[in-house]
Symmetry: C2
Subunit: 473 residues, 2 copies
């Protein structure tokens, strides 16, 4: 630890140590250990605005044995190991803030086994969700978690990712049944089984899911699959108020309707897609529903939900079971990211991601909306409202320090309001770098110190994704 | 550790240490710290056949602060703390095998908050599931996990319990959203939030769920609630073969039918309830279904399932949505435990509990059945087959050492077959004492050593439920 106290000498000694680890690994990985400038630059950033940092090298292991060799070499010389999926993190998870080896899992992309009768697939961590779903097509099953990006399943597990379908099928927490990992101390951990439930042993699976690569490298995952529904139908519905829309969602879930997706877009977001995609949607708080089931059951679900929406000021409930019509209805939601970017071409989106108890969702969204209205920004709110999770997007000018400062203060207020009402600082984007400051506020000293004790137990040299969750905050 | 090497002197020094801790705790707990013989005897055993062991004292804390005082006093003097719910464990979890303080949570039985809109309840650990469901009745919501016994929610969480409804609503793993706990090192840990999802921090909630009281004492739980379904219907169906019954279950789930319960009983079990409850059920492998939903949807589910059962040799599909008729249909299943005990009055049931991937369930049950048929015992198999979880019950003579030896060997073979096909040594009854020997076989050295490292990190003095999972195996 002493060598880190002086930033500059740490960098120097860090580079020397990395060079030693690279020497050990060259014969193991050959050309799959890259030190060229451009490949290091590719692995210096993710999809966030956060400051990039170069790794000393990028490794592309193909097997667990190679991951183990990397971890052992880096442990020997105190070199950071930073797992990298496809770099679609929004929070800087894969930025190697202290250099070291960026461990890219893209060559660990084999689907090892699909067992339709057991509703499971066993995959290497670099398999992407679309790759798995393409392979699953013939089985009538699907991997349900959909964060938008075609992320790797290892990355989604490490960040406890979710997305639009979580309200029905759960997040990565619910869909990873078992895994293998190499911990920072070089132990190879196998956790969970292929049985649907078990009451044996500490739940190491859920410890690695969401650990953001700070305990070890996930080398294999057993994920849960779900039947592709026989019928899918969709509906959109405009509301007079945000509160009405959210209360309709609560009533729908209370009724026991297992909506497959229920997404919210506010007026700004609707206006943006109207302009971008030439749609004529009513500019109002809007809900997008998707129902899965048998043909009769999806029709019944939609009918019940239509009645509910009417009670809460919903109008123009537009329902369809036809695929093309469904796609048209959902187009606005799908186009939302680019539509928002198109409001001010060339400007950046400053994204927020919180989750609150659903009873607090209406007031939370209203407060977030007011904060945007009182700011110099155009901004929108969209959300996976069935879970109480929503995203803010402020449109800021690149390089404008004043904008950044205001946006940061707004993002802090957003999180503070969420925590004050029993919510969480990150619904699905994770802690990464900037949200480290909220860890003690959200979890308290006892929990954060316990996390650090667990980190030390499994990664005693602190080589796994250092400077992130587990050894800061 | 040295003092434990000599069994006798450890007992003596254990009693002295316990006396010191008791002295510290007397002014804190007053009469809620009991050392009488009869109360200690009550806390020396559970519902298993395992050898009882007396605690040195029994504490009945009412608050987290009192739990903390107990843990601190015991840590100071190296005295075991063994959490106790209602003592309904089947595997010896709450037996204080090394003496110490039995920490009974029955006075921590306050339902702290019910938030219907958020589908959550916040409870102290000594609240029982029936107590919570009685309180919930007016809200239209229910706590779904049903292990049979009216267990405490803290105990169910600690053992990662489940039961008949897990196939639809999940186990305790899925239904504990957040908790508070006092770890063995005296830190107070708050984990999770009231939001439905979160991607912040290591998942300490799932670390304590299933830890069997070996990391700390759970002092508060936030559990998930589900809407009481508008309509409930039931069906029973007899099959020509075990394989046919199990394949019908797989097909039902593959079809996406969200059965609320699906229970299997073999011929011996059916015969026993026919005799015990004067029923006239066909003596055959039988499935019991329960469907939840709207009236139209439960009718449709039953119709689809009836078609499926026919394909797999099912006959006499007997369906009803009427409450009395439903209860009559399920009576056989509810009476099963007592019906089996009544086969040989005064004899004991030696219970097994494994879970396998559903694709292996038919062959697993057939092998278990053959093992029983080749033994001197009458024995039966019943199961939560939607999860791949089933229980064997061998009827053995109390005190008959030969019986016990044969039963133990059969139970070992049952687990070995489960592990060989990717299953787990315990589906829902936990590890407790006798299944410790399977920990390394199931999880491997890397995982078990990681568990022990975590145990040392959170309970450095090893006072939490010692001799169980986490410091043995």
């Amino acid at each position: 630890m002493d060598t880190i106290s002086d930033g500059r000498s740490a960098e120097v000694s860090g580079a020397e140590n990395a060079a030693r680890a690279i020497e050990i690994l060259k014969p193991v990985l050959g050309e799959r250990l890259a030190t060229g400038q451009s490949i290091r630059e590719q692995h210096s950033h993710d999809m966030s605005r956060l400051t990039p940092h170069l790794p000393d090298a990028v490794a592309f292991p193909q097997t667990e044995a190679e991951v183990l060799a990397i971890v052992n070499a880096c442990a020997e010389h105190g070199v950071p190991v930073v797992p990298y999926g496809i770099g679609s993190s929004m929070e800087g998870h894969s930025i190697p803030v202290r250099g070291g080896i960026s461990l890219d899992t893209r060559e660990m992309n084999t689907i090892l086994e699909i067992r339709p009768e057991d509703f499971i697939a066993v995959v290497q961590p670099g398999v992407t969700r679309k790759q798995l779903n393409n392979e699953l097509r013939a089985t009538g099953l699907m991997f349900s978690v959909d964060p938008g990006a075609d992320a790797t399943i290892g990355g989604m597990a490490s960040t406890r990712g979710s997305g639009t379908t979580a309200v029905r099928y759960g997040t990565m927490r619910d869909n990873v049944m078992a895994l293998r990992a190499v911990a920072g101390d070089g132990s190879v951990i196998k956790s969970g089984s292929q049985a649907r439930k078990s009451s044996t042993g500490y739940d190491l699976t859920h410890l690695f899911v969401g650990a953001e690569g700070t305990l070890g490298v996930i080398t294999e995952l057993t994920v849960r699959l779900h039947p592709i529904p026989e019928a899918v139908s969709s509906a959109i519905c405009a509301f007079e108020t945000v509160r009405g829309a959210v209360e309709a969602v609560i009533a729908t879930i209370q009724y026991g309707i297992p909506v497959a997706r229920v997404e919210f877009m506010d007026e700004v977001a609707i206006n943006a897609v109207n302009n971008y995609s030439k749609l004529g949607l009513k500019v109002a708080p809007t809900l997008f529903f998707e129902f899965h089931g048998t043909p009769a059951w999806v029709a019944e679900q939609a009918k019940v939900v239509e009645e509910i929406t009417k009670e809460y000021g919903g109008s123009d409930f537009n329902w369809s079971a036809d695929t093309d019509e469904r796609n048209r209805l959902w187009q606005a939601r799908h186009d939302s990211f680019f539509a928002t970017k198109a409001i001010k071409p060339g400007w950046e989106l400053y994204l927020g991601d919180i989750c609150v108890p659903i009873s607090k969702l209406a007031e939370s969204i209203v407060a977030a909306r007011e904060d945007i209205d009182n700011s110099p920004f155009t901004g929108q709110i969209i959300g996976h409202v069935g879970d109480g999770n929503y995203h803010t997007a402020y449109i800021i000018e690149p390089g404008n320090e004043e904008h950044l400062k205001i946006a940061e203060a707004m993002a802090e207020r957003l999180v503070e309001r969420a925590l004050a009402c029993g919510g969480t600082a990150a619904g699905e984007h994770g802690i990464g770098i900037e949200k480290l400051k909220f860890m003690r506020v959200e979890h308290g000293d006892g929990a954060v110190d316990a996390m650090k004790a667990i980190k030390r137990a499994l990664d005693p040299k602190g080589i796994m994704n250092p400077g992130k969750m587990g050894d800061a905050g």
